[in-house]
Amino acid sequence: MAIEAPKPLLEVRNLDVTLKKRDTFFKVLDDLSFHVYPGEILGLVGESGAGKSMTGSAILGLIEKPLFISKGEIIFNGQRIENNAISVRGSLISMVFQDPLISLNPLRRIGDQLVETIRTHISLDKKQAITSAKNLLEEVGIDKNRFHDYPHTFSGGMRQRVVIALALAPRPSLIIADEPTTALDVSVQAQILALLKRLCKERGTSIILITHDMGVIAETADRVAVLYSGSLAEIGATFEVLSNPMHPYTQGLIAATPRIDPETLNKKLYQIPGKMPNLSEIPDGCPFHKRCLQTTPQCYQVKPPLLYERASCWLLENKTGAI
């Protein structure tokens, strides 16, 4: 399969992001590697503090002091992205943030905001930009006549649609959606996810979907990467990861997710023991070993690499034929 795979749009290679605090260094992201192929949705899952949003910021080149990229590289379309690369940010890679209430300027009409974004990135005159903005609004399911309205006249879901239109404006090839539906209702969430899926199919845009909800991943993502305290725990096709999780953390996350199933009503949920360590407390060896129920002596000493391009766990070493 690896031979036939198309050239990845985005490659993150052995990325380390380090936090410098006085004279001590903490690794926020630790040896993270993954690819995004053109036209696919990659889900990034993990608890808060796992480094999901940090990965997004690193790709956009938004890492600032006291954080810095200490190792590794990000390659987009065959070119290395330097930190603070304004040429890429916004035009080739754009971002949808979690809270639609604060990512729009409340004092400006949404049309003006769209036109501004379009004209910053693409050389169009004002008239062309307005038509293009109106088309974008239609594409995300908002009436053209609302072009001159202020953000406060829209509901949360509509505002998130406007934000998505803003992200689409410069015709990016990658959108990083950082928890785009966390602030929304279930039914609106379903609409927004369907919209993202449709745009991904129609435009061939790749999407990195950052979320903590396994259900959202199951509904939308083609592939999923599970992060745990800054390192990659497991990566693979969504169906395989969800139906046959290899890493004990993924297994725990899936078991802890409540599901609508008449058979499991009123049963207790599975609880992963303990909590995710602080940056200063990440143990040697596998970062998950303190909460893991299937540890081997190896887990305490050596950090497992990504085995079989699937999971960073020593348990996989002995299961050669399992995948």
């Binding site: 209702d185 379903a190 259900g215 199951a218 996350l253 997710t257 008449p262 009123n266």
Partner: protein, 283 residues
């Protein structure tokens, strides 16, 4: 005599809401209305909702934002007066004009709330010990200060925190731990009903599992009655004994979880069920 009373208890539901309505007045000031000749503009937040909750059970209210879930919660907690209809808890009504003050305080003590955001519902300038002691002091439950501290420590241990956390401030805790503090505070005055208003929607999945399990354990231990409000059907399915589906203030369907998830009747319920992301059917 005692036996008769006990039987009465069994027959009557613990928490009863009958024909509950609440309107909010959105109209312009009186004088402008008279000049323009407009009628009053009323928003029906809750419209004729009736439900019963038995002692020790969990009743869940599900619906989108704006469907009136929290308005019902406020009326049950006695924080908002219903426009019409009544809420009775164990036979008593908050807003009965003849209700005396002592009884009303006793009722307040028996209904407590856990709010959605554990970040906003704890005073950042108070220590955890003071937060936990506030309901004890307010309701005059324990006079002696040492006993108050001991009770607060016990509460912290019941929710899985440590007694050394008493002197910490809320910002020193993670989201899940803060929600545990909120639960401990709600338990402090030994309530009978706890209203959980989206208690886990600000939390991560693994932390959510811990908080939901804790709520279940506490329910068994203290035979608490929960009014559980959420928009997440999956969460509700693990907690509720009975589910009411609210749409624009109207209770459109009420059923046991098994029946609701297997054979939903109302179109709105079907829509909610199909919209809920489900981990067991990957795309």
């Amino acid at each position: 005599m005692l036996v008769v009373r006990k039987q009465n208890w069994c027959n009557m539901s613990f928490l009863t809401a009958s024909r509950l309505s609440r309107n909010f007045d959105l109209s312009e000031p009186w004088i402008l209305r008279k000049i323009k000749g407009q009628p009053k503009k009323l928003l029906k937040a809750v419209d004729n909702a009736s439900f019963l909750v038995e002692r020790g059970q969990t009743y869940a209210l599900v619906g989108e934002s704006g469907s009136g879930k929290s308005t019902i919660a406020m009326m049950v907690a006695g924080l908002l007066k219903p426009s019409s209809g009544t809420v009775t808890i164990n036979g008593d009504n908050f807003f009965e004009p003849s209700q005396n003050k002592i009884k009303r305080i006793a009722m307040r003590k028996s209904v407590q709330m856990i709010f959605q955001s554990p970040y906003a519902s704890l005073n950042p300038r108070w220590r955890v010990g003071d937060i936990l002691k506030e309901p004890i002091v307010t309701f005059n439950l324990i006079e002696d200060e040492n006993d108050q501290n001991r009770h607060a420590c016990e509460l912290l241990e019941q929710v899985g925190l440590f007694s050394k956390d008493m002197s910490k401030f809320p910002h020193e805790f993670s989201g899940g731990q803060r929600q545990r503090i909120c639960i401990a505070r709600a338990l402090a005055c030994k309530p009978e009903i706890i209203i959980c208003d989206e208690p886990t929607s600000a939390l991560d999945v693994s932390v959510q599992a811990q908080v939901l399990n804790l709520l279940k354990d506490l329910q068994r231990e203290f035979s608490l009655t929960y009014l559980f409000i959420s928009h997440d059907l999956a969460v509700v399915s693990t907690m509720a004994n009975k589910i009411g589906v609210l749409k624009q203030g109207i209770l459109v369907e009420e059923a046991t979880p098994y029946k609701l998830f297997s054979y939903p009747e109302h179109d709105y319920t079907k829509m909610l069920l199909s919209a809920a992301p489900d981990i067991s059917k990957p795309y």
